[in-house]
Structures are given as structure tokens and as C-alpha cells.
């Protein structure tokens, strides 16, 4: 059956894992780096310490997972937002390519950036 081979369950799994990981991790990260440090609510960590944390393989692995899953989470949700919110389902092929293609490209970029930090 065609349906059993549909990629939908896999992209949904990526979307869901992405949803969970981002829900757990992103609020605190965004709060610290996007709001608290810039506004001086908390002192920003100094470069040496942060570089040591960032270059740690475990950190990089976690960040890589976070980036990939978050991007696929975006891709899936954004695709449906365009379908439903803007009623663009008739353009589903280009939309699908744009969203998941974007996630793949983003993941590659993330890999490059993160490897550079190693």
C-alpha cells in the first residue's frame, strides 16, 4: 500500500521530537542569551569559560540534535500553517520542498558551524 510507505510518520516523529526538545531547552537558552545577558539582568559568562563549554563534544552533540530537530519541527509546522492558515494546499509540492529542504540545508550548516567549534 502506498500509505504504509508514506514519509508522513517519519516527518511527524521528527516534528514531535523537535517539539519536545525545543519545549524543554529553548525557553531557558533564549531567556539567558536573548534577554537576561543583553539586558544585564545576569552577568554574561566570560569567553574562556563559554568556549570550553561549547567545544565539549557532549555540548556539541546536544546542540546538533537540538538544531536538527528544531528545524524539522519548524519545517513540519510551517508547512501546515501555509496549508491551513493561508489555504495554500494546492501548492503543496513547492511548499514541501521549501520546508523540508530548508531543514536539511539548515542542518548541514549547523553541522559545519558546530564542527568548527570542536
Amino acid at each position: 500500500m502506498t500509505t504504509k510507505r508514506s514519509p508522513e510518520p517519519f516527518v511527524w516523529l521528527l516534528f514531535s521530537s523537535g517539539g519536545m526538545v525545543t519545549a524543554l531547552l529553548v525557553p531557558v537558552l533564549l531567556f539567558l542569551f536573548g534577554v537576561a545577558f543583553p539586558l544585564g539582568l545576569l552577568p554574561a559568562p566570560d569567553h574562556a569559560y563559554l568556549a570550553s563549554v561549547v567545544s565539549h563534544p557532549i555540548t556539541l552533540l546536544v546542540l546538533f540534535g537540538l538544531c536538527v530537530l528544531a528545524l524539522f519541527h519548524w519545517a513540519h509546522r510551517f508547512r501546515y500553517t501555509l496549508y491551513d492558515g493561508l489555504q495554500l494546499k494546492k501548492y503543496s509540492v513547492p511548499i514541501t520542498i521549501f520546508c523540508y529542504g530548508g531543514a536539511v540545508v539548515g542542518s548541514i550548516i549547523a553541522a559545519i558551524v558546530l564542527l568548527r567549534a570542536l
Binding site: L24, H73, Y80
Partner: protein, 136 residues
């Protein structure tokens, strides 16, 4: 079972049009659309995070440049909005989790409130660990 209803010269059905702004019709639809839009801010966060890592791995000066950029009022405003959306995402995500999950302990079904509480607990613990690692 099939139905015997056949079509003939029947009076036309009225098909109500779906407006492009259907999601403004009711507050919960609006909330739904906002929730879905949170994904855009998650994508922004990935970009922001990669900029940070890139800066940190490029040396002290680049890191400082990043800090300056992040203190730009426009960027701060963007991040505050993004934070709001990300929190909306987290709250709705945890709120829906008990629906998909049915856990059993022996004969007892774990009540949805417990599952919900567990998610919030995990959120708290993860956030604490991340903050501890960064701020130590």
C-alpha cells in the same frame, strides 16, 4: 451498506465559503494559529544559536561583537517576542502531551494531571541544569 440516495434535478446545496481569516472567528482558533506560528521563532532561535556558537568559536572579539549585537534594542525586542512564542509553544506542547500518552501502572491509568506535572517537572530540571552549566 450503500445509500439509495440518487442524484436528480435536485435543488442546489448552499456551500458556505471558507474565509481566509477563519482563524479570527474565535479566540481558540487564534490561539491555535499563534501556536503554529511559534515554529518561526524556533527557527529564528536556531539561527541565533548558531551565530552565538560561531562567535564563541571565532575568539574573544567575535564573542564580544555578538554580545553587542544581542544588546541592540531591535534584537532584544525580537528576542522578547520570540521568548513569548517559545513559552507558548512549551506550555501548549506540555498541555497536549497527556492526550497522546496513556500510561498504565498495573490496573491504574496514570491521571493526565500527573503526566502534565511530570512534564513541567522535567522542564524545570532541564532548565536548571542548562542554567547551571552556563552560569557556573
Amino acid at each position: 451498506m450503500s445509500t439509495g440516495n440518487a442524484v436528480g434535478g435536485e435543488p442546489p446545496l448552499y456551500r458556505p465559503p471558507v474565509s481566509l481569516t477563519w482563524w479570527l472567528r474565535n479566540p481558540s482558533y487564534l490561539l491555535f494559529v499563534l501556536r503554529e506560528l511559534s515554529c518561526v521563532f524556533i527557527a529564528w532561535f536556531v539561527v541565533y544559536l548558531l551565530m552565538l556558537v560561531y562567535a564563541v568559536s571565532s575568539g574573544r572579539a567575535a564573542y564580544q561583537e555578538f554580545l553587542d549585537l544581542s544588546a541592540n534594542p531591535l534584537v532584544v525586542i525580537l528576542n522578547v517576542i520570540a521568548l513569548a512564542f517559545v513559552v507558548l509553544h512549551a506550555v501548549t506542547w506540555f498541555g497536549l502531551a497527556p492526550k497522546a500518552m496513556v500510561l498504565r501502572l498495573g490496573a491504574l491509568r496514570v491521571p493526565p494531571t500527573v503526566i502534565l506535572a511530570a512534564h513541567y517537572g522535567a522542564w524545570l530540571v532541564v532548565s536548571a541544569i542548562v542554567a547551571w552549566v552556563i552560569l557556573r
